[in-house]
């Protein structure tokens, strides 16, 4: 089983549209949405949920005001500025600022602080018309998205092994922080979706640096390559200089937005389009790389 993660650095570059299109052409694959805090792939895959699991998030501390003596020891120990005085007196913990380290609980001399684990995150094992699909829904404002990414990837890998699937395809999160790191570690290849804007290039550079630090093979896909030709050229130069093969590209195509509105992948919505032809080529090359370790005929 081989795993590929689709990433971009910048949000809105087209990761999910590309993943959905690849899902339509990839055979014998398990799909996994790694963008756990603003998941969208399910809108296209329209999954039938088979299993729902609770993901226990970070600990969140709270103060029992009847026991609290207002000594302030907890507040002086908190590194996250999560403990505050109420205007009317008394201490409270802002659950959104609490990091879940439980130090306040340990230093409180009167045992007034307890912690509970958040149970507001869920992950699902589903069936979709393209194959098994593992996805998640985080409660808004929750922490530990990196750990949840690791969890959904673990499950997707398990399903792939159990069903004899050849591939796991991950729709990655934006950024380069904890959830992006969790979606990259140990994957066999990364497909970088890049849009030809100054921001797109800036963000892609940072992502390339991150992926290179893990020594993971990296390929590129240029989305909306006709927005502005000079920047597309600059991106091509950057990718060539960094030995990143361009597996394919899309022009600005209204079929992509229309397919999303129609809850379809662009391959299903516009099967005869250049956009569809291009993504098929991308997957053929990616598949060849994953199977034999090199890119053939690009």
């Amino acid at each position: 089983m081989k795993e590929v993660t689709i990433l971009s650095g910048k949000g809105g570059a087209g990761k999910t549209s590309v993943t959905a299109a690849i899902a339509s052409v990839a055979e014998n694959a398990v799909f996994c949405d790694n963008d756990v805090d603003a998941a969208d792939l399910h809108l296209i895959l329209n999954p039938e949920v088979k299993e729902t699991h609770t993901f226990f998030g970070a600990w969140v501390a709270s103060i029992d005001e009847d026991k609290c003596t207002n000594c302030g020891i907890c507040k002086s120990h908190c590194h996250f500025d999560a403990i505050h005085y109420r205007e009317e007196g008394g201490l409270y913990i802002n659950p959104f600022q609490c990091e879940g380290c439980r130090l306040c609980e340990r230093v409180c001399p009167v045992g007034a602080i307890t912690s509970e684990r958040s149970e507001n995150n869920f992950w699902y094992v589903s069936d979709s018309r393209f194959g098994p699909f593992v996805h998640a829904k985080m409660g808004p404002g929750e922490e530990n998205s990196g750990k949840l990414v690791t969890e959904v990837r673990r499950k997707a890998g398990e399903i792939a092994k159990a069903t004899g699937a050849d591939f796991v395809i991950n729709d990655g999160p934006p950024g380069i922080g904890c959830s992006a790191i969790s979606s990259v570690t140990g994957t066999n290849a990364v497909l970088l979706v890049i849009e030809p804007t100054r921001s797109g290039l800036h963000d892609a550079r940072r992502l390339v640096e991150l992926v290179n630090s893990f020594k993971i093979p990296l390929f590129a896909f240029i989305n909306k390559d006709d927005i502005i030709v000079e920047i597309t050229k600059e991106i091509e130069r950057y990718l060539t200089e960094n030995d990143i093969a361009i597996l394919g590209r899309w022009g600005f195509d209204t079929n992509i937005v229309e397919s999303m509105v129609d809850k379809k992948s662009v391959v299903e919505y516009a099967p005869g389009s250049e956009t569809t032809r291009s993504i098929k080529m991308v997957w053929e090359q990616m598949k060849a790389f994953l199977e034999v370790g090199k890119v053939v005929g690009s």
Binding site: K10, G141, I176, M260
Partner: protein, 299 residues
């Protein structure tokens, strides 16, 4: 006290940066020049791209304190391991091994409190830097930039905010995408949130998540619909049902997308765009007037 506004979206690529940069410009022209833009998307800070002539005024490194265990003093009691909620410490008594994994450490300080042997010392590890720039627009730009490979985005945002000690009339926070901890950190202390969305199913799905979060956090907000004309009308139905203010609609325009692409947002702004931002500024002005800390007469 500055009036603080976050520009957030849930979904990436809806136009947070475009709106932030334009809004600072419009506020500087219409309301007050004491308006600072702070780029809180520390994983991928882009605001600076739109100010090619910006001059760096100051740069500060941000560090995370990571503990180090002195194995000469350590008695291998494992109390620090028990205190660490993040599984960042490994202590193997028979091997005389004790180490902290910096990439798992949240710098909470629990192990230092746990250790009775004085074996733990905290050392600074760089996580990024804060840059202040004169951009020629209002009070300029403050940017937080996370070091590639660091997972301490929340700390970076917190330090960026702390570094803004001057008193501005308005501070704009350009938020990261998503709805998890870095977004919460960005909106935690704001007076108002401008949500930027696009009229597509992905835009709507992620907008709904953000609305849920802001209601939880009890933050007032309004919505800017960017790329209007693309996609469908579902988002309007949702906003109407929920009674949510639409601050402005910015029509999709391929030429404008090209201007964004080349990093050029603030020259030759077309009348339609100017009008959109005037509407947003007007709504913000109304809100600001009701804000206790306002010093409206100065304007």
């Amino acid at each position: 006290m500055s009036y603080r506004i976050a520009i957030a979206s849930g979904k990436g690529g809806t136009g947070k940066t475009t709106v932030s940069v334009n809004l600072q410009n419009a506020i500087a022209n219409q309301l007050t020049s004491a308006v600072l833009l702070a780029d809180c998307d520390v994983e991928e800070p882009n605001d600076r791209i739109f100010f090619p002539d910006a001059k760096v005024a100051s740069q500060t490194k941000v560090h995370q304190m990571v503990p180090e265990i002195d194995t000469d003093k350590c008695t291998f009691c494992r109390k620090c391991v028990e205190y660490c909620e993040f599984n960042a410490i490994v202590v193997l008594p028979p091997a005389g091994f004790a180490e902290v994994n910096a990439s798992l450490c949240h710098s909470c300080g629990a192990c230092s409190v746990a250790c009775q042997d004085g074996a733990i010392n905290e050392k600074p590890v760089p996580v990024g830097e804060i840059t202040r720039m004169d951009t020629g627009v209002g009070g300029g730009l403050a940017e937080g930039n996370l070091k590639v490979g660091s997972a301490m985005q929340t700390l970076m945002i917190k330090e960026l905010k702390k570094s803004i000690t001057e008193d501005y009339d308005v501070v704009l926070y350009d938020a990261p995408p998503g709805t998890s901890c870095p977004v919460v950190e960005t909106v935690a202390d704001v007076d108002y949130v401008v949500l930027v969305t696009e009229p597509t199913p992905f835009g709507l799905n992620d907008l709904m998540l953000m609305v849920e979060l802001l209601i939880d956090l009890d933050k007032p907000f309004g919505v800017v619909i960017n790329k209007a004309g693309l996609g469908n009308r579902d988002i309007y139905e949702f906003l109407n049902e929920q009674n949510i203010d639409i601050l402005a609609e910015i029509p999709f325009n391929k030429a404008y997308a090209g201007k964004y692409a080349s990093g050029d947002l603030l020259t030759d702004i077309d009348p339609e765009t100017t009008e959109s931002y005037l509407n947003i500024v007007k709504s913000i002005e109304e809100r600001y007037l009701q804000y206790e800390g306002s010093n409206y007469f100065k304007w």
